[in-house]
Every structure is written in C-alpha cells, then in structure tokens.
Symmetry: C2
Subunit: 757 residues, 2 copies
Amino acid sequence: MIFKRLIAIVAAAAALWSCGGAGNRVQTIEGETITSPDGHLKLVFALAQDGTPMYSLDKDSLKVVLPSKLGFALFDNGGDLQTGFTVKEVTRDSFDEVWEPVWGEEAQIRNHYNELLVALGREDGTAMNLRFRLYDDGLGFRYEFPVENKLTYFSVKEELTEFAMTGDHTAWWIPGDYDTQEYNYTESRLSEVRGKYEGMRIHNASAEGFSPTGVQTALQLKTDDGLYLNIHEAEVVDYPTTNLELDDKNFVFRTWLTPDAEGVKGRLQAPCKTPWRTVMVVEKAVDVLASRLILNLNEPCAIEDVSWIHPVKYMGVWWEMITGKSAWSYTDDYPSVQLGVTDYSKAKPHGRHGANNENVRRHIDFAAENGFDAILVEGWNEGWEDWYGHKKDFVFDFQTPYPDFDIAALNEYAHSKGIRLVMHHETSSSTLNYERFIEPAYDLMNKYGYNSVKSGYVGDIIPYGEHHYSQPLINHYLLCIKKAAEHHIMVNAHEAVRPTGLCRTWPNLIGNEAAMGTEYRAGIHAGHATVLPFTRLQGGPMDYTPGIFEMDMSRIVPTEHGKMQMTIANQLGIYVTFYSPLQMAADFPEHYQRFMDAFQFIKDVAVDWDKSVYLDAEPGAYIVTARHPKLASLNKAQESVATLKDGKKNAVSGAAKYVYALPENATTADLARAKARDVWYVGGVNDENAREVLVAFDFLKPGVNYEADIYLDGDDADYEIAPQSYKIEKRTLTSADSLTVRMARGGGFAISLRELL
Amino acid sequence: MIFKRLIAIVAAAAALWSCGGAGNRVQTIEGETITSPDGHLKLVFALAQDGTPMYSLDKDSLKVVLPSKLGFALFDNGGDLQTGFTVKEVTRDSFDEVWEPVWGEEAQIRNHYNELLVALGREDGTAMNLRFRLYDDGLGFRYEFPVENKLTYFSVKEELTEFAMTGDHTAWWIPGDYDTQEYNYTESRLSEVRGKYEGMRIHNASAEGFSPTGVQTALQLKTDDGLYLNIHEAEVVDYPTTNLELDDKNFVFRTWLTPDAEGVKGRLQAPCKTPWRTVMVVEKAVDVLASRLILNLNEPCAIEDVSWIHPVKYMGVWWEMITGKSAWSYTDDYPSVQLGVTDYSKAKPHGRHGANNENVRRHIDFAAENGFDAILVEGWNEGWEDWYGHKKDFVFDFQTPYPDFDIAALNEYAHSKGIRLVMHHETSSSTLNYERFIEPAYDLMNKYGYNSVKSGYVGDIIPYGEHHYSQPLINHYLLCIKKAAEHHIMVNAHEAVRPTGLCRTWPNLIGNEAAMGTEYRAGIHAGHATVLPFTRLQGGPMDYTPGIFEMDMSRIVPTEHGKMQMTIANQLGIYVTFYSPLQMAADFPEHYQRFMDAFQFIKDVAVDWDKSVYLDAEPGAYIVTARHPKLASLNKAQESVATLKDGKKNAVSGAAKYVYALPENATTADLARAKARDVWYVGGVNDENAREVLVAFDFLKPGVNYEADIYLDGDDADYEIAPQSYKIEKRTLTSADSLTVRMARGGGFAISLRELL
C-alpha cells in the first residue's frame, strides 16, 4: 500500500511531567498506529515536518515513550540520515506462534505480536525501513536497509534513536562503558544519575570522552505511575552494542554506540538491519522477569542437531585462584614468558599452581560423588605468568598444558567417573591471537572429549583500539559461537558483550558473564542479586558462579580482609532466582564438606525448566521464584555424561537423584512412579534489609502432598554478623499452603518440593 | 670485559659541511671503536655527557655519519630511554663465513664483519645493549634488550636513532608513508626535499600528520665526495617499519616508525631486539648493487627442507585486468555482494570476466609452448564485485571459485602440460579476515597442486586503524610466510611491507611488490628501473612484472590514452637488471606473438644465478648487469614442473632449452657437452636520456667463443616516438671483446651468450 497522506504532528501545549525538563517537547504525534495483541499498548509512527521519523508508545491512557526521533548521523552520504524522508509504503502484519527453546525457563514460549513496517525514502534514492513489533509486554523496533537503495556501504557516526521518558523515573543503572558491565547497580531518579556517576565509573580506557550521564542496557525503570519499563536491545549482530546517553533535563535517552578503532559506530552494507531496540512496559515487577520479549525478537535456532547441547552443573579449580589461595601460573622463574621459547619443563614450579594433576583429581572425585556434570579447570595452559595487562598479542596458544597438567590422563580419569572437564580459553582480549588458534584449540577439545569451553576476555582488546562492544568484537564473539557449534562445543564467554537473546539462535551459547559476578567477592553490594534478573539476565543466562559458603576471605588467605555481603541461604536461593543452563557450585569442596546439609540443595536443584513462576519481586529489593524442572533435559544431560567412558553409566546427577530418590526396598513400580512425580524448586534472594515474604504454594498440583526441604536464614543470620547461619526444615506442603519466610540482611532461602509417593 | 673509562666527547669547533645547517653539532666523538675487516670503515661509539649513546662512522679520512644519537622515547618507564646510561661492558667479536642462499644473485655469499657489543645500563636497572657490525661495505647496528632488565614490557613512542649526514647529499627518495611505497623516485639534494615533497605525496590516510620531509628506506644517497651511501634496515620482525625524518637544516635523518592503531610505535617484550639499522658506504654505484649487507644481517635459513622452493618464470591472466581489457569480477547484477549469501550460479555474467576456463586454458597453452613454469590467475574467486574501498571485513573466503573457473579441471589441464597455476589471494587488506581463512585456503592449494601464491594487500588495513607497516601487520606478513612454509607454499606478497632481507631466513618468500611496478603503466617515469636496484631491491626481490611489448594502452582499450615510458629492449634488459627468482612475462600472448624474435630472450633468460657482475651503473641513469645462471636450480625447478602429472616430463623451461640447444643430429656426447657449457646473460636499462655504454666482456671465460644474441633498441627507438623499435644481432664474442651499446630514451638492451660447442 502506498502511503501518501501527510502525517501531522500535534505539539502539545505543556509538558506532562512534574519535575525537571524543558517543556517544549512534542507530546503527541498522529500517524500510523498499531496496538498490542491485548490492545493495551499503542505505537504511533509519524514523520516530523522536516521528514524526521518519530514514534511514541502508550499503555492505555498512560504515555510511556513520548514522541522520539529516529535516524542516524553518517560519515558518508552527506551525513544526515534522519531528515527529508517520506513514507513510501506501510505494511501491517501479525504473528502468533509457540516455540520450544532447547533449554530455558519454560518448555514453550509464545511469540505473539502485531507488526508495522514503514518503508521510508528520499528523492535521491536513499531507502530506510522501520519495523515495529508490538507485544503485550513491550515494543521492539529496528532499522532495515533494503538492497534497492542509494546506500550500499555506509558508516554510522551516531545512531540517533531516542527514548523520551515521561518523567523523572526511578532507574537501576550502571554507567555507560565500551568494555565492561562489571559494576554494582545504582538505584536513583534519572535526575540523580549525573550526581552519582563519578563514584560509580571505572576509569578505564573506554571511559575517556564518554558521557557523564550514559548508562547501559538492559536499563530497568519504574515510573511514578507504577509501570515497570525496561530498555534494551535484541539480536546485536554485526553492529556495535549501545549505551544510552541521558539528556537529564528532558529525560530523553539516546543510543550511544560503541566506536571501533577508527571511531566508526557501525559499518553497514545493504541489505542489512540494526539490532532491535526494545521498550518493555509491564505493570508488575514479576512481569519483567516473565517477559520473553528479547528471546522472541531473535531468530529461531540455527543449529539443526541440538542433541549435543545440554545444561551443565559444574564445579571448578577456579575459586582458589580468585581468592588468592592458588595461582593460574606455574613458575616465578621469568619476568615474562614467550610461548614456544620458554621451556616450562626446565622451570622451577612456584608450588601454588592450582591446575595440577592431584588437585584436579580431587575435584573430579568430589564432583562425581555429588552428582555434578563437569569440572572447570583454569590455568591449565602455558602463558599465565604474564597474561594480564601487557597488551600481549601472542599470549596463549590454547593447546599446550603446563607440565603438571596431564590433559590426556585427567580427561580419561574424569570420564571414568562420569565427569567432563570444561575447557578454559582465556584470550587476554587478544582476539586476533585467539582467532589464529581457535580451530586447533577446538580440535584439541574434540580430541580429548571436552564439550564446553569457558572463554575469557580480560584486559584491553587486541586489535588495538577496539572495544569489547565495538562491531568487530561483536562479530568475533559470534564467530566463536558458530565455530564452536561446528565442533559441537558449548560456549560460556566471560567479559564478552552482554547477551541480547542470541542464545535462542545459538543455544550452544549456554552462558555469559557480562556483569559483576561472584568473583568480585566483598565488592558486590548486598542487593546485587535482586537487580540482575531485571537487567543483565534479560538478554540471556549468566554464569554468576554462586554457591559461596565461606564469606570471610581472610579464612582462606589471611592477608585478605573482605567479607562477602550475603548469607548461605542467599547463595542457595540464587540457583532458582537466576536462570542459567550452566550453574556452578563455586566454593571449595572442603567448604561444602563443612555444610553438607546445606550443600544438599545445590546437589538437588535442577538447571533446566519447563515452567517458571515469578512469585514476588521488586528490583533492588527481593525476588522469589518457583521453577519446575524439565526432567527429560536433565536425563539427557545425565546420559551424555554417564556414557562418556566405555558406555558405562557412572555418576547420576544430583537433581536426577533427588527426583528418583526411593527407599532401599523400593519396587520397580515405585521407580516408575518416582520418575513421574512432580518436583518444584523455590528460591528467594534479598537485599541489605531484612524482610518477610509470603510464599503461596498455589502453583503446586492441587490435592497432592509434597515433601519440602526448606533452607532458611538462621534466626541470627546477617550478612555482616552471621553469614553462615542457616536452618533447614522439612515439611509436608500442599497447594493450599503458604509460608511466611524471613530473609535476613543479604539473605535468601531455597526450597525443594517433591511429590510424596 | 668491564668498561669503566669515562668516554669523552670532543666537540668540534666548526661545521664541516659547506651549505645549510646550524654548525653547532658535535663533529667528533672518542670512545670505543671498531674497523671494518679491510680497515677502511671506522665506527666510534661513545656516551654523551648526559649519558646519551652516540655513534659515528668514517671511511678512511672521510666522515660518513657524524656523531648521531641513539635511544628511544617510551610511553612508559618514565618516557626517556636515551639519557642517563653508563657502559657496563664492551665486547668485541669478528665473524667470517660463506653461506649459500637457496636462490639468489650468486651461489655463495661471504658474511664478514667485526662486531662491537656495548652493554648499557642505568642505576635503576634499565638495560639496553647496542650491537654494531661493521662490514667492508657498511654498518649494521641494532638495539637489544636483555632479559635482566627493569624493562620487561614497554611501548615505543619514538625511536630516536639519528643518521647525521655530512652535507647536502644527492638523494633518490620517495616520500615517507605508512602504507605504500608505490611512488616514482625523485632525485634531489636533501635541501630540496621539502620543496619537492607535496607534488610527490599520495594523500592517503597515512599521510595525515606526517612529516613534510620524511622519506622511505632504502634511501640511496651520493655525497659530493663521491661516496654512495644507502640507509636501510634489515630483519624487520615484530617491530614497525621505519621512515626517515629529515632535519633539512642539519641534514640529520631520524627514524620515524609506523604507529599502530593506538599510536604506539613498537610494543616490546624483553628479551628482544630491534631491526638492524644499516648504512652502506661504497665508492662505486655498482658496489651498492653488489652489496649483500642486508641479507648478511638476517638470520640463516629457518626451513630445513628447501627442496620444494624454486625459481618461477610465469605468465598470467592479469595484465588484461590491469589494462581494463577484462575484469576480476564476474557480474554486474548486485550493488554489493555477500559471500555465502550471494548466489553467483544465478547471477548473469557481465561477459568481461578474465579468469574463465577458456582464457585460462589459452594462457596455459601459450606458457607451456614457450617454456614457462606457471600461470597466475587473478579474479578466480567470489567477491571481486565490491572488493575495493569499502573496508569490508569478510571480503573473500579464498576458497570459492566463480562459476566459470573450474579449479579442479584447470589445475589438471595445467599439470598435464607441465604448468602450475599460481594461486591468488587478494586480502583487500582485511588481514583479520585472511588470517581466519588462511589454513583452509592453503589446504585448498595443497589439494589442487598449487605451490605458490600471490597475495595482495590493496586498500586500508582491517584491523581498523592499522597501517601496512605497523607492527601488527609486520607480524601478519611473517605469519603468512611461516604458515605457507608449513604447507610448502612459496609466497609473492604485493602491497605488503618492503622486504628487509627476510628471504634469507624464509626463502619461500620468493617475491614482493612494495614499489611502483609495471601496473602503473604510463605513470612510471622512464628512469624508474634505474633506481629500484639501488633502493627497493636492496631488501629482496621484486615481482616487477616486466615484459610489456605493447606500450600504447589505447591499442588495448580505446578509451585509455597512456603510453608507457620504455622500449621493448628496456623491458628485456630488466630480466637481468632486476634480480628476482620470480619473473613474469606480463604482456598478452597475442602481443608476444607479434614479436616472437624479441620474446625469445624472455624465453631464454634464467631466473636464478650463481654469479652476478655489475658492469656499470649510476642511480637514476642506467644499469648494466651480467649474470651467470645456476643451472642446477633451473633444472630442479624444471623437474618439479615437468613431473607434475603421472611422472610425465612435459614442457622444458625456456632457459633450459636455451642452454641445452643442439642440432637435430646431435650425439649423446654433444648433449653432455651442452650441459656443461658456459652461459651468460647481460642486461641494461636506461633513463629518459639516450646514452651509449661500453660493455666489456671480460667476465667471460678466456679463450672461449660465445654465440651472442643481442637485443638492442632500434635506431629510431624512443619511448615516446618508437617504443617498439628494436633490432636483434647475432655475433660471436670472447672475453677480449667489448661492445658500445646505444640505449634509447627509456631504452635498454639484453644479450644471451652461449659457449660455442
């Protein structure tokens, strides 16, 4: 349909917001509209008089996004890719399907939206389309550049997408950055961002010249009308990641892309499209957690055979390096090392190397005994003596073990116990080097039976001048995921870009870090875990590495003084609160051995779900979640591990053990009934204020008795005073029951529920 | 030996040079000295009063390099790595050996020098050594950073190495650049460089912010005392390439390194060393051509089995693209292409694609008939439609042929005729992408029997912000050479960095471009070929692609108007004047068919030598060279080609045919004698002024008659008026003979000499 009507813009007479801001912004536009399937959200698209595309978003009678400009500044084509457009064609569509993720928070996801596609053009032949998809819980839109276009190759100076807020909302934010998301969150009004900014900012290379009000996505907002908004992006492919620049007079966000080494913020070749820009709009905090907006905006799974992809619960030779108990490196003999030149076989070991045969075997034994799938071993390969901070190009070859790490024997030993080793590829951010070695490195993994890799991107990027979130790096991360898929390898990338739902398309991306995780120890604020599910986890799972039972770092290394700001029950609660198909029990075996009754929950909890119920939540305060395991997935994962070695079945995963648990005199009929029985897990996490939450169990099957193992903060539990105080209660519960649960300061809770046979 | 004497500096009272310059520069230093083996050159090392290392170089009573500073400015370690040094130890050594290059201008090379190693240190533990090697024909010196050092990782802001000239020398120079050496040479006094600079400079990205007096190495100089100096560098490995910044008041050159994307001019990790800085000092121009200074300063061959490396004389499907007669690309269907997405099998061919089956077969036939070894085919692979100028990362996959290039059938056809195809890898300077595909690309070559690759680096470098001569790219080129060696592949890299003798260490680097070559057609000044052997060729052979017989471009493509500035005899002369183990006959078969008698020289000439005699030369004017072929090498190469297919011997190379030529009724004894007979080739090239040169044949075996085929400029030959005028004379010559040869404007000559049986 050719669209020829003039779209008028009605400038509202006065500003709607009560505080801050110049009141001369246009308040309403009239033009093309679509509504969400449930009719509550309304998207309006219009052209300003100068031909600038604009959009606005309402929820019922509430304005959500005021008329906001769209477009680009370019380095070429005259620079202006914002004004002078006319509408060439408008197309509407709607879509409704249910799809099944390979792994996830639920077995089925509904993807239901109405779509508006506006084809824009200029007389000179420049063409730019805008595609809007309106869901019940929010908006996604992207720019598309068709092939019939004056634009073929062009470079973005700035993407000018605005998100004009209606007022001085409350935000949970971290400062903008081109290289890291490893920040604590700040809760403040938008007008307070500038004032709180400097204290938050990490002064790294990418901070220079950056905005003093820029924040990162996913940005969680709450309006004074009680709406929860969440601004993010979906499907960031071949395009830089964006920050959000805040005009804190008018409360208008604008995209602020990550520049590459030449300052270019996107090199495009038509036909192409940008990532989706998303605005979630829901009435309850738990609906943010339940939203699948980001996943739905990504493409369907691109991997045909996904049989090799499965959730993983793992332990690792890792926390001991993080805490300073042991080291990644092998020797102190050299001021620096040169791979292929330095002869480690002649080096004197410094005696603190964590990834040694004996220590790895000890971890394998403990993991196997306790139903884990895998052991991560960091520091196994040559080069750790000077891996950090030198912008060293050839820093690792990802293939050569230290003399005390017998890669063949250790894998064989692990497999004999039903355990896989998790490969570790720290790139030291020399992606140039990693790409040179990625094929032989993955070949090595295949050779020894590794099926997952934790990759790391610590430090400044090589190629020099690039950033962790610039377009060439976005392409690098995806290249690794694709190559890994060819090798049937699952990827858990740390310090890479925050995820934007790509795990739907590439489900072998089973984890990312991309936020401040447990490794920050005492540096993490008590409420951190109550924000991440609203922000970082919107794009995909996080390898948060929870499960710390010893919070006092000085008990590990006497010269350390930090104390982590959470309780043991909080750590248990995270396994349910944070969805991830990859969950670590991060602490030492010897720490778990001191608290085996609490550790039982980590052994029992599942890592893949067919149903999730978000019971209660408020960002930055608390979250309570219930989840129902996907047993088929659990069993498949278990089988993959159990048949590693000579077809022998060895370990049985903890969660499977929990589900199938039977008395010794059980009959075959009992086992069949056990396999069919209902199981739920509930978890809660809390901020730094003690509070009570009411947990109603109405999600359970009615009329069925469940045996519940309830892991609670002890009566004196407190992250500062008594972080290791917990209590465990056993009860029988039904769907008619509810419990008032007290969470300590920095506390939490966890519950396993199993249908009584 | 511990050196504790105070080294004093004697400041000379007055400047020695007669024109230009502030006269306050120190003229003499006293300190540690070494002399060249023949005693004529003297190197003095001393510390200035502030602890700055300095050196000077004399030849007998003539000063060559006035006291010149050494050192660095760093980004770290306090910045200053020039002052405050004391001498910790001085070591002297001498060396004399004869080594045999895998290929070259002579079978044996003498490496004979005296060495001075000065260990410098500071109280803070900073250590820097200077190693000087003094040859009869010049000086090489480098910085070395030992492992016992305060410096471990450090970044160079500027290398401060000076070369203080004694006066306003005549120079043959091209402007400094970070990305290209493709310039005509300018002959001028040093004081005139600034004035002539702007006209010369290519205003590309790397020109911005660069010095208005910077020039490139190898820089050929001539003093008013009649000395020929040549400033260059040797063994540039893991370090940026340098330009020479000229202080044109004082005639002092200083190193000006190529910055990387972050502006760093070298990232070093001790232990390490810089490239050699070299100053050749000889009394005759021909001695510059005879010098092996650069090769001698490189490391011995690093490849154990060199049996697969051999010289190559080749033709190609190439000049037709350069002249515009045909195209690298296949279709005009798309404004841009996407590899793996664009379906070429459905594209409409534009009909101008050069690398099509029929055309390649035609070239194979002609090459086989005329005794060549190989055919280069450019434009064989998908992606040429938009390969240039878009900074496109994924521009080629180096593996997927266009629909009309049957890679299996064409290689099979070529091999059946004793011809190899030469692979072509244009990277479009996206080295990031090339490194991703280099292994499968080389595997593909191995699969189809390619044993050499011409690689290309046209356009701006990706990684963004890097330069063709910055350290990461230097490392890239070497990475390719090493990987190629693993695959038994010979490399001919175009638009890569100018060579600095690395072919001694990696003799599979059989060619480089790195200068303005024949592809510039009418843009090349007439005297260009008389400068390159003094400059560009000092570092290693050049794939200059001579052999053009049709100089009028309009006869190929009527809309072209350029006329190349040389004669046919000049083109023949280049085959002897320019040493290269890789020589192309660049023109079309149909052009050679018009001049088969002149083409005979190209067929007959060898490409590898056991002896070279530089008869007469003056840079920028003329060069006359005689060379004696290394027949063993020729035969080996021939064998490698001839046994390609089913062990059948097919083509016999032109040079071998020439050597073995016998009458039809020859006996076996005749053949044996033929194999032993003496053969020489002589070539001359001239500038834009017609001149006569006297060629004395005293290099021939005395008392032996040689039949000589003499290819001369025709009487009316002139590059502007009659470039295709030539005459061929046959004579019998002995070592007692000499010939006065007239070379036309832009002309030259060539002679084949074969012992009469």
